[in-house]
Symmetry: C2
Subunit: 187 residues, 2 copies
DNA sequence: GTTATATATTCAACAAGTTTAATATACAAC
DNA sequence: GTTGTATATTAAACTTGTTGAATATATAAC
């Protein structure tokens, strides 16, 4: 249920429309959770039915009408409850689900050349992700300084550090794997 | 569709029952893909309807009857096709989906003490995973040597190296994060 | 003037994953 | 004799995630 809780967490910072949530989500949480716009709207609907949110329709003349979601007391309780029972998700934290590694595992069925190309592409993506994350990191620092909420922004930074460490690990792994495969070609 | 392709990859090594596949899956691919037993049986059924597999019912007297699945030519083609078009999955490779990081992001809503406990638990899980992977690594080496298929086992090892690198990165990250949070307590 | 982008939401169909449990046999351990 | 473990499969109900489009208005860019 992490998507619902992520949305609760964002709405706990302040009321927002689905559209704004979608953007906020993609600018922050998307590094470790992906959700399509249509899914976000659907979940908001379900969360309102659960009593975790209320919504007010706002009529606009220059732009399409919008619906502003606000977290309820029930929603805040649920958020706290979720944050206080991390045991199960720590198990989940260990479980990577990677179609990419699945391919690596079976790459013996294809040519070494093809495998090398795959690894180079992966390496490149790691670099790009690191850059993307670097920008996000700067944004967090700025935002934290502006908002003056050092406690919150500290955790945002810790989450960002995780991403950085893992892209670095990915880069190093790819380099090692490339060396191993090149040995094979050389023989 | 990675689960289906993982199953195709395993069946490409040899015919197996759903029960055996379930065990083989959990002993190898489960490090980067998780699937419930019931899901595996359901997917096998769908794959047979797709023409990627055939199955033979084997009547046993001492044990329950079983159904042995065999990959078809169509299935082999599908496996090769999947292995030859990695572009899309390299994008997926970058996308972590981690309820744990979601919690870290919002951990500012709870106490520093609680956050530290979470990080210690995570750290512990990293160590355990590394050990579990170490055993798997040994099994791979042995199996590769017995089977004599060095090419296949090389990729299995590369996949295992990935896991190891990532658990190490997780350990280091947790240590850094713990230091950051302890500073906060000390002030 | 037409194309792209931003705002703002909704929906249907489908695919994938989770939960839970039912069913049945055999062997080993205590 | 009953408890646990291994073998072996099936299935319903549910939740979550993906795909792809439809709808509508306003502004900025070319």
């Amino acid at each position: 249920m992490s998507l619902k809780h992520g949305l609760l967490g964002l709405l706990n910072y302040g009321s927002m429309t689905g559209y704004e949530l979608d953007k906020a989500f993609k600018a922050s949480l998307s590094f470790f959770w992906q959700a399509k716009t249509s899914q976000i709207y659907r979940e908001l609907d379900a969360m309102e039915r659960q009593g975790w949110l209320t919504s007010q329709r706002v009529i606009q003349s220059e732009k399409p009408n919008k619906r502003v979601y606000t977290i309820t007391e029930g929603g805040k309780e649920e958020l706290t409850k979720w944050l206080s029972s991390p045991e199960s998700d720590i198990m989940d934290a260990m479980s990577v689900r990677s179609p990419f590694l699945m391919r690596v595992f079976f790459a013996g069925e294809t040519s070494t050349k093809q495998s090398l190309e795959m690894l180079y592409a992966y390496r490149q993506k790691c670099l790009e992700s690191k850059n993307r994350l670097g920008s996000a990191y700067d944004a967090i620092s700025e935002y934290g300084a502006i908002v003056g909420d050092e406690k919150k922004s500290k955790y945002w930074q810790i989450a960002a550090l995780y991403g950085d460490a893992f892209f670095d690990a990915g880069l190093n792994w790819a380099d090692k794997a490339i060396v191993l495969l090149k040995e094979e070609l050389g023989e």
